[in-house]
């Protein structure tokens, strides 16, 4: 009896291996376009891609699209995509690429420059200039076409403001206005956390982007990196000033407790618990958070439309352009190993035409990167705060997404953490950051201000 079980297992195993050997996966036979994307949120991306595929195949008979959904959280998605990109037989023709990684992936040789294609595309002029830049590699060539983006601003609770005697249509003009409002709330409405600025290591990239960079880029024109010379900025006063704000918030009792800021679920706690429960007055956060409170989101809070107000984050002293925002976003890129480059471009330009871009931005709560989509009435109707956040695209900045950025971002979080906990003064933390940057990129790639 045991012997026959062995036999069965061995036969089964060899059959499987033989079958496996027979199936040729990934060899591109002329007209099939492989599109890889991150399949998250149950079916948001899947629906969009399926629609794009159906529409494209109908408009281009004889050409087929194979969708390769990758179900994974962020970092794993990047890992899988990189692995696929390394081998010609598995490299996708079109990929859903984070603007954050465009430069590194271009350097790695995974992406195909699209300049010759976009220059002949009549819809390219509809894209905002900074959105076009977001898809540029170190060599200035275009490696991705933007699908949508996000912006960041101040969310505030109008009910708590009323109790503190602050206006319902709050428009802070500079950093002092923001901090004063927080202090007023601390005095007048005890039991409520006045303000949250994402900070510290547990917050991850949210701390760097929604927190620190929203301050830093409102205090200095170049922020972290001087693009024209390709050098990272060290010793800047703006850096220390931004850390000063954090010190005032966290050492001055204006921010959430350390238990919350060091919790791995810091972001969720703020969006899903503190705000709907009326325990947080002001939150510096992104355009997408309303998605959590809508009926399709995780924390159904229909009152948000009446309770929450939004205001642009002001620059340090209110200097031009008056407000500041940071943006991330995603693009569609073309794989450099693709054997069907022209067809891949046709898919990209189809998936990102006006109608499909509009559909994408509405269903995934994204901010449009095309002027015609932003002007479309359907977009404004989709969400009460859409128009406001879309208006911030004019002043928004993108991160200096060089391959070193993630390590530098880590350095920012370390600096934030030590100031938050009082372990270092802003000046000390800034100096430590400077040393870290030199350690990462070398002295010749830094420039002192």
């Amino acid at each position: 009896m045991k012997r026959s079980r062995v036999l069965v297992a061995v036969v089964a195993a060899s059959a499987l291996v033989a079958l496996a050997g027979c199936s040729s996966s990934g060899s591109n036979d002329g007209k099939t376009i492989k599109v890889a994307y991150q399949d998250f949120g149950t079916d948001l991306m899947a629906k969009f891609m399926a629609k794009a595929k159906a529409g494209f195949e109908k408009a281009n008979p004889g050409e087929k699209v194979t969708l390769v959904p990758i179900k994974a959280a962020e970092n794993d998605y990047y890992t899988k995509l990189s692995l696929m990109n390394r081998s010609a037989s598995t490299a996708p023709d079109v990929l859903y690429e984070d603007t954050f990684l465009i430069r590194s992936d271009a350097q790695a040789g995974y992406l195909e420059p699209l300049d010759s294609y976009v220059n002949k595309w009549d819809e390219w002029s509809q894209f905002y200039d900074n959105a076009k830049d977001a898809g540029k590699g170190d060599d200035g060539k275009i490696y991705g076409v933007s699908m949508g983006t996000d912006t960041r601003a101040l969310w505030y609770n109008k009910d708590i403001f009323a109790k503190a005697g602050l206006p319902a249509d709050w428009k802070p003009k500079d950093w002092n206005d923001v901090l004063d409002a927080a202090k007023t709330i601390k005095d007048k409405v005890p039991g409520v956390t006045p303000i949250n600025i994402f900070s510290g290591k547990a917050g991850g990239e949210a701390s760097s982007m929604q927190g620190f960079e929203m301050l830093l880029y409102g205090a200095s024109k170049d922020g972290l990196y001087d693009a024209s010379s390709g050098k990272w900025i060290t010793g800047s006063k703006a850096f220390t000033d931004s850390l000063d704000v954090l010190k005032e918030v966290y050492q001055g009792g204006l921010g959430p407790s350390q238990e919350i800021t060091s919790d791995t679920n810091y972001q969720n706690i703020v969006t899903s618990q503190l705000i709907p429960q009326g325990k947080l007055a002001i939150n510096l956060d992104g355009s997408w958070v309303a998605g959590t409170w809508q009926s399709t989101g995780d924390t159904n809070w229909p009152e948000w439309e009446k309770t929450m107000g939004v205001a642009p984050m002001p620059t340090q002293t209110g200097q031009e352009p008056g407000s500041i925002s940071m943006s991330g976003g995603w693009t569609l890129s073309m794989g450099s190993k693709s054997k069907v480059k022209d067809e891949a471009w046709k898919f990209i330009s189809y998936a990102l035409n006006k109608a499909n871009s509009l559909d994408f931005d509405i269903s995934l709560s994204q901010i449009p990167v095309r002027k015609d989509v932003a002007a479309d009435p359907a977009y404004a109707k989709s969400n009460p705060t859409s128009t406001f956040f879309a208006s911030l695209v004019d002043v928004t900045k993108f991160r200096p997404a060089t391959p070193d950025y993630s390590k530098i971002s880590n350095g920012i979080q370390v600096a934030m953490e030590s100031v938050m906990t009082g372990q270092q003064s802003p000046a000390e933390a800034a100096k430590a950051y400077d040393d870290t940057v030199v350690g990462i990129v070398g002295k010749d790639k830094t420039k002192s201000e």
């Binding site: 195993a13 996966s25 949120g41 149950t42 390394r86 598995t90 924390t299 159904n300």
Partner: protein, 278 residues
């Protein structure tokens, strides 16, 4: 440890009470999973659901999300476990019975060599599979998972085989049986409990293995449940906790069922004692 005295009954009751206490402690953290799965608006906070609903289960029990991935998980885990156990028994027997100066270094080397996490090895493994044309093949993934489960399986199986006294096999050899026949008819039945443990262990590891199938499989039809579970992680860090919890309950049921089935083998008689007594 035989309970051959009247105080044996008291011992049994004490043991039962202690067991139930420990069982309670083990079940408590799972309270969140159960509550969240029936909660229409679940979060990470533990709470009696405001609205009891079967909605999460409904949303999750679709072919794409549940049935196909669970079937794939079954294929991968069962295939891996069967192959591993059989190859391990075959390998453990000579390692146990035939002294050889290569045994010790071989065993240690394979045990430690394979403990490098797959994250460190993913690039060479991926390239290897591309060159063997085994990317996106369930068969190839099964073989890889079997290969990486082998060292622990061989180690454990050898340990169980070691405790079978040679006298039984000697009897079989005298009767003219070859070593293979001895292995399957004499030794294996005696180490059945041990083999059952190895099988369960390999199966459970394979069932919960996310990274290997994630790296080696491409088509969504081939992905197992351990990978599909990440569908519930949305953008900007949002997680659909209710559906995640419902899915994990469904996901755990087959393996627990398997455990109950296989543990009947563990409850088997001490055949060894019988054989030695003569």
């Amino acid at each position: 440890m035989r309970l051959s005295s009247p105080s044996g009954l008291a011992l049994k009751w004490t043991a039962n009470i202690l067991l139930l206490l420990i069982g309670l402690v083990f079940v408590l953290p799972m309270v969140w999973v159960v509550f969240a799965s029936f909660d229409g608006s679940a979060t990470l906070a533990v709470g009696w659901p405001k609205q009891w609903t079967l909605e999460n289960f409904q949303k999750v029990l679709t072919p794409d999300l549940a049935f196909v991935p669970l079937w794939n998980s079954l294929l991968l885990s069962a295939g891996c476990a069967f192959i591993t156990v059989i190859v391990a028994i075959l390998a453990a027997y000579p390692l146990s019975r035939y002294r050889n100066r290569f045994n010790k270094p071989f065993l240690y080397a394979i045990l430690f060599g394979t403990c490098l996490p797959i994250t460190a090895m993913m690039v060479p493994v991926y390239s290897l599979f591309v060159s063997l044309n085994l990317i996106d093949s369930i068969g190839g993934t099964i073989l890889f998972m079997a290969a990486s489960s082998l060292p622990m399986a061989i180690w454990m199986t050898k340990n169980f085989v070691d405790s079978v006294p040679l006298s039984l096999e000697e009897a079989a050899w005298v009767d003219g049986a070859s070593s293979m026949k001895t292995l399957w008819t004499v030794v294996v039945p005696l180490v059945r409990p041990g083999i059952a443990v190895v099988f369960i262990f390999v199966f459970v590891q394979a069932w919960g293995n996310f990274f290997v199938p994630f790296v080696l499989l491409l088509s969504p039809e081939n992905q197992p449940a351990a990978v599909s579970i990440f569908t519930f992680f949305g953008q900007y860090g949002a997680v659909a906790y209710g559906q995640l919890a419902a899915y994990s309950l469904i996901y755990s049921v087959p393996v627990i069922a398997l455990y109950v089935l296989v543990s009947r083998v563990l409850g088997g008689s001490s055949a060894l004692a019988g054989a030695v007594k003569g």
